[in-house]
Amino acid sequence: MVKISGPVKISLNEIRLKDTRFQVSDFDSWEKLALSIRTIGLLQPPLVTKRRKGFVLVSGWKRVQACRKIGLSSIPIYVLDEPDDLKAFLIAVFDNAAVREFRLLEKAQIISKLGRFGMEKSRILKEMMPLLQVPPTDFYLESYIKIAALEPEAKRVIKEKSLPFSVVCMLVEFRPKDLKAILPILLPLGQNKQKEILEDLREISKKKDVSARKILGASEILQILRAEKWPAIQKSERLRTALRKMRHPRLSAWQDHFNRSLEELCWPKEVKIEPSSFFEDEWLSVTFRFKNEREFKARLDKLQEMARKEGLKNLWDAEGRLKKNRA
């Protein structure tokens, strides 16, 4: 049974706010709460527990911060009589879980702290992860522990931009120095593009055995990053394309060759021409729209004109022409 006494009034200075061992909340703002306390007072006293050097806050971090900000010198508190850190922490977790859902970084913090306080892995998986609405598997457990270990700057961005788990668990695979370089590029993009960039960066880095930072330091990438004329979103898009080319050099070369060949042919814009998916088949498809007989004939004339051009066969000869260029 949990033993709690109080409420008793103590000086705010008696609470050791630097000791965050039981903190689970990752609150953004306290202003509204401060206004509420100023107007109607502190209705629910925070919970603390006594340790060797003084009182340690178990739950009520936001309330205590708000009280400090509005200049209160003392506040009422409940005192938890629990010398075991894990048990005290569980009280903090359950106290919060009863009234709200945890955010990603909070879940990471809780899972990581449970391990640090000595809870067995099997118990975390079986009892705690379902409570946190996290699938109880090794993968999620390990991913959340890695997320908890991220640098504060990375955590700030994750929180500010509400990055989803699928993106964050890709971020944790990068070294802190690499992350610093990656984060500003990701932010202007949507989730799918963020994932695409991270995946490409990770795979290029693994394949070439170089850090992501080094990849981003390549001259063609730096040129994009340093260009002042483009807004952030455009830079990120250009970078995405550049990374795609690095990750799929041969496919990109074929695509470039195809587009170049069309330019050389002066291919008519009103007739759409497309290769098969990833050039897997040799066929090309041509589609066009027309409103009347005159337009129809005009498109056919254009196509016949194309058919007479010597360069038409280049559309099927990406490999040969690329080889020639390389030579």
Binding site: D138, F139, E203, I204, K206, K207, R247, H248, P249, R250, L251, W254, S277, F278, F279, E280, D281, E282, A318, E319
Partner: protein
């Protein structure tokens, strides 16, 4: 399994399979290994649950041998893949899963149960085969056991190669292929060879065998085994599948082809297949989780017409042209070569002809004798 053959850590026996002679044979050959009789679905689920609870359920599953009764069909057409050219191969599902642990193996995500299963109701197999062969008596057939497991990896305690060879000896018009990466050939060598019994090996570069085919013998050892089997009088087959692009692949595959033609008389080669690395997209996650050190996943893959990831076409072409070219150059034009799950264009550019379909490939592989 270079020198030490595989033994399971535990044998699980489906109660229904207890009375089959193959069960008794396997248990006799695995004396001293703990065994548990599984009675009913609940016990089976509990045993599966225990394996699935391990950190690496696949690795854990490979320690368990499950003896069971095949309730479905043993013989099936090779599933091949849509939109690419197949070869009308048939498979006998006698065992599922494999003690070897190849990083690229599709079985990692393919089978419902985590352990290595051997089906023990051989009488049902012979009966089904009788019917199947009767139905297909006027055509050239190739049939093998190496699709959902290695044909010989368990053979030192199942002795299934012996049963199969005895059966197919009486069917000289049908080709039985026993496909393996192991050198577990003692039972094969002890039997009289016959021209319709083909023992075949999957080959790769030594570098890939070391890095990606955990538990498999070195490629040279496989070729040495093939040499012994060919000298004994069996036809042999080889599968360069999956061909994998990696640093030094040209030199690596050239080395294997050179060793192959030097060690095995090419006149004894029944067929050689070439296939490039391909896998369903969801397998990539499993591969990277189980083999984080692999670099094979970072090449240029595209989604093929069948939805599987495969190398971008010119990259596949380079692999095929290199290996097929060397096989032709050093091994001669007479070795039957075929491509596994490839497009007509690749056939044309690598082999110089386009099969009109599966039948055409099958015909091209019919015995030179």
């Amino acid at each position: 399994m270079p020198e030490s053959p595989f033994y399971p850590e535990k044998v699980l026996i489906e109660a229904k399979s207890l009375d089959y002679p193959l069960t008794q044979r396997i248990l006799n050959n695995l004396s001293g290994i703990p065994r548990v009789v599984i009675r009913g679905k609940r016990e089976k689920q509990a045993a599966i649950g225990k394996i699935l609870g391990a950190k690496d359920p696949l690795q854990e599953g490979k320690k368990h041998l499950f003896l069971a009764v095949q309730k479905g069909k043993f013989v099936k057409p090779c599933p091949c893949t849509p939109h690419y050219i197949g070869c009308r191969y048939f498979i006998i599902n006698l065992n599922l899963q494999c003690p070897l642990d190849c990083a690229y193996c599709i079985l990692q995500n393919y089978l419902a149960e985590p352990w290595i299963t051997v089906f023990v109701n051989l009488e049902d197999l012979w009966q089904e085969l009788d019917g199947f062969l009767e139905k297909n008596k006027n055509r050239f057939l190739r049939i093998g056991t190496g699709e959902l497991g290695d044909s010989l990896a368990l053979d030192h305690f199942t002795l299934l190669s012996r049963d199969l060879i005895y059966y197919f000896r009486k069917r000289p018009d049908v080709f039985l292929e026993l496909k393996t990466k192991t050198i577990n050939i003692r039972n094969i060598l002890a039997l009289e060879p016959q021209d319709n019994i083909v023992i075949s090996w999957s080959l790769n570069t030594e570098k890939m065998a070391r890095a990606e085919e955990k538990g498999s013998p070195p490629v040279r050892a496989r070729l040495e085994a093939a040499r012994c089997v060919a000298e004994r009088g069996y036809p042999v087959g080889f599968h360069f599948d999956p061909l994998i692009r990696h640093a030094g692949w040209r030199k690596g595959y050239a080395g294997v082809v050179r060793d192959l033609v030097a060690m095995v008389p090419t006149s004894r080669i029944a067929w050689i297949s070439l296939g490039s690395l391909r896998f369903p997209p969801h397998l990539k996650k499993t591969i990277l989780a189980r083999f984080p050190g692999t670099k094979t996943m970072y090449e240029e893959f595209i989604a093929g017409q069948d939805g599987k990831l495969r190398y971008f076409k010119p990259l596949r072409m380079e692999l095929f042209q290199h290996v097929a070219g060397l096989l032709r150059k050093w091994g001669g034009k007479h070795i039957p070569l075929y491509l596994c799950m490839e497009s007509a264009e690749i056939w044309r550019d690598v082999m110089g002809w386009i099969p009109k379909g599966k039948r055409h490939v099958e015909k091209a592989l019919s015995p030179r004798t």
